[in-house]
């Protein structure tokens, strides 16, 4: 009860004192404002980036491996040129892998080409033609919305059939049934057997402008036998990813005829690699947040300490009077610590408001859904208590230790 009464009183004393030094107090909080704004804005940005990255990357299953000529992440030109000299991966590897692998439930070879799709005067440009097999349905988590996906017989008999992405369907068949209609891709006619549900975009590329056709037809139509094939593999379950990677490496080395000691001339890619690269990127952001944030908080904290030291000196007589009337050392200590925390919380509140504004602006003008949530409040309270106490303790204990008679005599 006593402590509560005294706490309330200390907050009143602090706000009164600050009110009489408005400008000085606001200037003091500037460092805290900058620090808090920086940290919270960057954290909000990182959270926004995480959300959008996770949303995009979710199209790549955690239980899918990709055998490619190139690794997904190449950091230099020299690296790129060394990979370019590798032998291409032929389409038939996909069929061999399917036979040999015990941990894979679907294996899809894929070849890509950008073409224009046409139907009766309507056209859709920049369509991504994917030559593949029936397993692609599983490896790419695809669901047909209308009709069906490519079947094994379509692929075996090299039928000229296609499955449209949602946007291609919308562009070519705005108000008619596409099933059974023949569209033109690269000068050749393909019968539409199905439409894939809407999938959205991944890293800026729409996945709804894809068109899937049997791989054999792709090879004969687009004449790209020299191109390397990417093989998508769905593993029986996500826990088997590591085992599957080992198994597939062995199979690939055998197919390639690599001798022990020779380097792999292919890469096995997976979602977690993108995740790792992304994490490295956000770690840099974190470092900036922590760097800029802690420097400005340090500067802000020293500012608070300075202003409190001035305040203690100016109010020496007041401290003397309070002590003469019965204030104990820790009552005075608490009074100045609370004053420190009140100044600090002004800075934190202004900083949070700025950060909210910046996050709103970012969310409105960029695709990053930066947002500030309840955790900000906890972070803010944490800042107030740590900075307030850390930088307030020295001036406050200086005030608390004052001898009443010396303080009263102070001019």
């Amino acid at each position: 009860m006593r402590i509560l009464i005294y706490f309330v009183e200390s907050v009143k004393i602090a706000t009164n004192a600050l009110r009489s030094y408005k400008l000085r107090s606001i200037l003091t909080t500037l460092g805290i404002v900058i620090g808090v704004t920086t940290v919270i804005t960057i954290v909000a940005l990182i959270q926004g980036l995480n959300k959008s990255f996770e949303r995009q990357i979710s199209a790549i299953g955690t239980d899918t491996l990709f055998i490619d000529k190139y690794p997904w992440i190449i950091t230099s030109n020299t690296e790129f040129f060394s990979y370019r000299n590798r032998r291409n991966i032929p389409v038939n590897y996909a069929f061999r892998i399917k036979e040999l692998s015990s941990l894979s439930k679907a294996v899809a070879p894929t070849l890509y080409s950008r073409q224009t799709a046409k139907y009766k005067g309507r056209s859709s440009e920049g369509v991504l033609i994917i030559g593949t097999n029936a397993d692609y349905l599983v490896t790419s988590n695809t669901l047909p919305e209308i009709g069906r996906f490519l079947s094994d017989t379509d692929v075996e008999h090299r039928r000229s059939v296609c499955v449209l992405g949602w946007d291609v369907y919308q562009a070519l068949f705005p108000n008619s049934d596409p099933i059974g209609k023949k569209i033109k891709l690269g000068g050749k006619k393909f019968k539409v057997v199905g439409v894939i549900e809407k999938k959205g975009a991944m890293f800026g590329n729409s996945m709804d402008t894809n068109v899937c056709i049997p791989i054999g037809v792709f090879q004969s139509t687009f004449g790209v036998r020299w191109r390397s094939c990417d093989i998508e593999i769905k593993i029986n379950s996500p826990e088997l990813m590591d085992d599957a990677e080992i198994e597939l490496t062995g199979i690939m080395r055998r197919l390639r005829g690599l001798k022990p000691g020779e380097d792999n001339d292919f890469n096995i890619n997976k979602q977690s690699m993108l995740m790792d690269t992304y994490k490295r990127l956000t770690n840099t952001l974190w470092a900036v947040a922590i760097g800029v944030g802690s420097i400005s908080l340090l500067v802000g904290g020293i500012g608070i300490m300075n202003i409190l030291l001035v305040s203690v000196t100016e109010r020496t007589r007041e401290i003397g009077v309070r002590k003469a009337l019965g204030a104990r050392n820790h009552d005075v200590l608490l009074q100045f610590l609370i004053e420190s925390m009140v100044i600090c919380s002004i800075g934190v509140i202004i900083g949070i408001l700025f950060a909210i504004g910046i996050a709103k602006l970012v969310a409105a003008t960029t695709p990053i859904p930066a947002a500030i949530t309840l955790w900000v409040v906890f972070l803010g309270v944490g800042f107030v208590i740590t900075i307030g106490v850390f930088f307030g303790i020295y001036p406050a204990s200086k005030a608390a230790r004052l001898n009443p008679i010396d303080a009263l005599r102070y001019e």
């Binding site: 009860m1 006593r2 009464i5 005294y6 309330v8 009183e9 009164n16 004192a17 009489s20 007589r317 007041e318 003397g320 009077v321 309070r322 002590k323 003469a324 009337l325 019965g326 204030a327 104990r328 050392n329 820790h330 009552d331 001898n403 009443p404 008679i405 009263l408």
Partner: protein
């Protein structure tokens, strides 16, 4: 007895080398409901003695018993509690908080013993009524005259019903007419049962008391009753 000083000495050390013996050996007993005036030339140790009596300062040597407890070996916090509970101090320079109004200034001692806000306001108003300032509660010190300020200070000193009221030259900064008014308040407080010790160097002020203690060079020169 309320106050019992045994062989109290106070030596100020200046810069660690020069020693000023302000009180040489004070032996003094003051009982309940006494009204004592301390007199003496400037520098004789009056303020030093008052500060020790008021537990604002501690003696270099000797034993000080206040209301049955030995104050000489108390900690800072214990002394703060004694100041809060047992002592009402009135200063020559008033020592009011300039930014707080009269009511809040009088409330201060009650904040440090955990009295609730409503109870504080009630007691502070009663104390201000006793010194005739009920109509000046909302005024800040710079909106009050010297005499009024000292009356606020007296209200503050008695708000917590202390065992003893100590006043170091309470009229020193006031003109003689206002000084008389302040002395009337002390007289009323004494009549109401309060114990009062005050320092003055005006004979006519000391006349109000029942007993005059004269100090010289840190020693009690004379201790006599007033008829």
């Amino acid at each position: 007895m309320l106050i019992d000083l045994k062989d109290i000495k106070k030596i100020y050390e200046i810069g660690g080398t020069v020693k000023v013996p302000a009180l040489k050996s004070i032996n003094l007993v003051i009982g309940k409901n006494e009204y004592v005036a301390i007199m003496g030339p400037s520098g004789s140790g009056k303020s030093t003695l008052m500060n020790i009596l008021g537990c604002l300062d501690t003696a270099s040597e000797g034993i000080y018993m206040l209301n049955g407890s030995n104050v000489s070996d108390m900690t800072d916090d214990e002394l703060a509690e004694i100041r809060n509970r047992e002592i009402g101090f009135v200063f020559q320079t008033f020592n009011l908080l300039p930014r707080a109004n009269a009511l809040h200034n009088v409330e201060l001692p009650l904040i440090y013993n955990g009295t609730s806000s409503t109870q504080r306001k009630k007691q502070a108003k009663e104390a201000l009524e006793k010194v005739g300032l009920a109509d000046r509660m909302d005024h800040k010190p710079n909106e009050l005259s010297g005499g009024q300020r000292q009356r606020v200070a007296i209200a503050r000193a008695l708000v917590n019903n202390p065992s003893i009221i100590l006043a170091d030259e309470p009229t020193g900064n006031l003109d003689s007419k206002t000084g008389e008014e302040i002395m009337e308040i002390f007289e009323t407080l004494h009549d109401a049962g309060n114990t009062i010790v005050l320092v003055t160097h005006e004979e006519y002020i000391a006349e109000h008391s029942d007993r005059i203690i004269r100090l010289r060079d840190g020693l009690v020169e004379r201790d006599e009753s007033v008829n």
